[in-house]
Symmetry: C2
């Protein structure tokens, strides 16, 4: 049975890394002594080791140890044997390229579908959809495909931002970009604001957090969905 | 001799389409009776015909007629015979995919390098760099490559936006995204603010408009370049 948390962001403004999610993570990973961390999205600034240490420091407070996938000789074995998995944020193009390069995109999908508890934040959430095509990230590397884990039957736009009133900037708003996506694709897109997350338990998908999320469907007006909305049937 | 205008945006806030550039375009296309318009970047909303009509209405005021590349049976012939070329804005992934699909990426590059006057705005400017990897656009389609025209020896970030002071949003700023690009790429990136453009005359590249531009180079602090800066040697 799928057991997944898909969070818009790891960090809320004025709060520390993963702080707002920590009570949720404690129950989510209740049966895990150790979780596997996938730091592939991080495009420099800090190393995979440092990124993993940052995650470990937080999980230590709920008595869970963390091992980075880069510490294993074989990433496939690491995923197969993981008690729980967390993919952190960064750049989605880089993350997807690395998952394909290490030949674990499909394995990760199957493993999580078979019940290994999973947490994604930001880029790690983006890959939970059918494709990464509604990411906000810059195409800093060229992945062999835009197809991702398909843990849910729609796409996500993490860090969803409402159009700024009175903006004088002429670049496209987030809503316009998602509408451009729908000129070529039928897959629904959920704009997940910072502080929101999806809880996936088996086939049940619930919007969590205090904010509403914005649902975009091809040829339909966008819709605001309140907290605790049931997204199970969405595809 | 190269003769190119690379504009951050087609439209300034509170002004009409191409209005701020019109005096410049009048001399830029002085020897053209007709220019070829490439509407490929437009991801719906308006058709290629409507987009071309919008462009034609503006160029009519400076006595230049406009023909859309979609009106030609053979896009290669259209480019070879063009007196001048304008590629409009929209989505860069879509534009690049269409240029490759129609087998005109290389031909367009050669044609403009050989002296056919060119105007790019937004996505049409992004493709003037070595790659489209510093676009702001959403990856709504999968292009066969991120390599672009290479009319200049660096990359562009059109619609460049400074970080908002006091923002509570946790998504990456534009500057952070470009720094992520430089974790994997050595090519300099010029952040071109709305209202700025590059004038390329042969090998001479000059920053035009009233604003400064922000230059990002790998492992160096960003630099502000004032109007009329000479970017000729940048690579």
């Amino acid at each position: 049975m799928k057991n997944i948390i898909i969070a818009s962001t790891s960090t809320l403004h004025g709060s520390s890394y993963l702080e707002y999610l920590l009570p949720t993570l404690q129950s989510h990973f209740a049966n895990c002594k150790t979780i596997l961390f996938i730091p592939y999205a991080r495009p420099g600034g800090i190393s995979h080791e440092e990124y993993t240490q940052k995650v470990a420091a937080v999980f230590q407070t709920i008595a869970i140890s963390v091992k980075g996938i880069h510490e294993f000789e074989n990433p496939e074995t690491a995923i197969k044997n993981a008690e729980g998995i967390f993919t952190g944020g960064g750049n989605t193009f880089l993350l997807v390229k690395q998952l394909y390069k290490n030949n674990i995109m499909q394995l990760l999908s199957e493993t999580v579908k078979n019940g290994t508890p999973y947490l994604g934040t930001s880029a790690g959430s983006n890959i939970c959809g059918l494709s990464m095509q509604t990411t906000n990230d810059m195409p800093i590397v060229y992945p062999p495909s835009f197809q991702t884990l398909g843990l849910i039957s729609f796409n996500l736009n993490p860090h969803y931002l409402d159009p700024e009133e009175n903006s004088t900037h002429m670049g496209e708003t987030r809503e316009e970009r998602i509408q451009e996506y729908h000129a070529f694709n039928t897959i629904p897109v959920l704009g997940l604001r910072e502080g929101s997350w999806l809880e996936v338990k088996g086939e049940k998908i619930t919007l969590k957090g205090n904010l509403s999320a914005r649902l975009f469907r091809q040829n339909q007006l966008p819709e605001e969905l309140g907290p605790e909305s049931d997204l199970s049937g969405l595809k």
